[in-house]
Amino acid sequence: MDNGATMHLAVSPVPDTSPGTGLEFNRLASFVQRAEAAKLDMVLLADAAPTSGGESANKPMPFESTTLLAALATVTNGIGLVAAASTMAHQPYNLGRRVASLDIISHGRAGWNATMAQVPREAANFSRPEGFSADDFRRRSEEYIGIVQGLWRGWDRDALLFDKSGGRFHDPEKMHLLDHKGEFFSVRGPLNVARSPQDTPVLVLSGLSEPDLDIAARAADVILLESGPIEGANLRYDNLKRRIAACGRDPDSVKVLTNISLAADGRLTAAADRLEEQFHAKSCDGFNIQLPAQLPVIDEFADLVVPELRRRGLFRENYRGTTLRSHLGLVGGGEQ
């Protein structure tokens, strides 16, 4: 089936705000397992750090997103797992190897969601009380993302030899220094983590302002946009795909997903109409559904909405491969 013919579906569990319901791991794991049973492409894990100036009424998850991803990786086997992690909270070398390691733990199902929006409160907790100007933060983010993606390519696919009798564990010619020296960082590399089963973990970019779009067109595997009126979204989608092509990339090699919050719609069947309308208007390649992290809610979505989308030929019946890249129809890992 043509990759473009069916929509991609991600889900973001939003912490439960009702009193007395902490988001313990087992309940969250059940939520993700049910999303996996419905064959959704991936789960996007928000980070618990303050993301909206501390004004958010949401109860934070008691888990940092990358540690949560590792734990979920061992209790699932199909669904993609994407963790948000801030460019302020980690050095690029540390984040690069954390995510590379998660990708091996999950057998090629990991991704990193980097937000292009600076969070002042985060800067204040990471010894940068003055923060960065918008322009500096943008250049720093692009440099950071380039380093992480470069580190992910430091080992060739066939670099590990495992030759016991010859005493050759890896081929020295197939391990590459990054030798990055830039405006904000200098990183020699290579990573001390092997290459990903899907070649590189999936990069999701979100929190984009207009000047960030070219960075996203150059670097992203998935671009996450906020929802808006269909007409505007349609133009926005065309514009993004043109920018991707202008970077010399196949427009279909980057998937554009729109955030949809179904939290206020307690009647989820109506959602299928809404998704179909937006998808047919060519405003995106799929959706990230933000759902309260409650089992009855994911059950309703999986039992009512997803089968309806399948009946309409809008969503695939099963995973096409074993990696997140294969779910998204992206090149990588020798599966395409």
Binding site: T66, T67, T74, A100, N125, P129, R188, N192, A194
Partner: protein
Amino acid sequence: MTAQMKLGAFLWATGHHIAAWRHPKVHVTAGIDIDHYIQLARTAEAAKFDMIFCEDAAGLREANVGIASQTSRSIGFEPISLLSALAVQTSRIGLVSTASTSYNEPYGLARTFLSLDHLSGGRAGWNLVTSASPIEAANFGSTGLKLHADRYERAREFAEVVTGLWHGKSSGHDGQSFSVRDPLDLPRSPQGAPVMVQAGASDVGRDLAARTADVVFTAAQTFEEAKAFYDDLKGRLAAYGREPDDIKIMPGVSPVVAETETEAREKHEELQALIPDDVGVALLSSYLSISDLWRYPIDGPLPELPESEGMKSRQALVVEQSRRDGLSIRQLARHFAGARGHWRIVGTPAQVADELQSRFEGGAADGFNVMPSYFPGELDAFATLVVPELQRRGLFRRDYEGRTLRDHLGLKRPA
């Protein structure tokens, strides 16, 4: 009940012996196989180890690519993601990982370990280290490795901020190296605070440990060295208002154990024979913090060395051993390649238990961090041969007394 020793299982892909990956019984893809680690963690938990322990370095361990490619140490799991995966695949054993104060920020690291603590129900610990390797420094834009004293001053402030955040300190911190405005956005730890482990053995490292650590991991070859370190560190606690029992000192030990002594010696020799000379000399060079050891005759003595800004205590340990036993560079290289500077015991279960008992009852250790030569074989051997012997002697628990790592270690819950 008499006091019982604490035991850590120090995991490392193929094994602590530098040539373990070449051993016929070793699973050569261990460093990229999460199921291998899940199996090791479950073995250690079934044997009632207090904790599993993972080390870390933010970079390759060997600058010379030709040498590095003859070892299995250039790739592995990043330990915090590894332990997070193991947290939900185990239920009782403690989970301790190294993380450096040199290339992290305290707010982020405090959050990450507290998150691991929540995932595991109160079983997490952080092994605080400073980074001494120029290979790591090059990954973080450093123009040169910082001096030992500067690294430890940053570490001291880092530890202060992390423990403050874990204990729910609400006011901000504005210090020499770090500024932090908010308290953590996660609930308090199920064990009060994750356990603090430290491995530095230099004078300034010992002071930092006396001030902040719950557990100290150290390397000691002889009983006298171990005893001197133990007494010195416990003696420093009073200055910080702490009791001797507030800190558990757990030296590393790398046993090669078999039913008979002959069999154990054969096993040891089999491993030693797998070490290429250049790999052994390179490893020895790294412990000595010098780069040109290969220029000296391999069967001659160790040359005079400048004082290290790297791993001070490890350098001193190697030099001391070379003088005491009159060993050549080749002999030293093979010796240290085997157990990475740690105590090596080769023998029967009873002989290994005798040695451990002697250091434990002699007041030189509160327990041991067990460093199997190769995995899973030598962990299995320790679990099935040595642990029951220790239990029979009343020296080790038969079951967990509690749920958290603090429970296992008999540490007070922080107020």
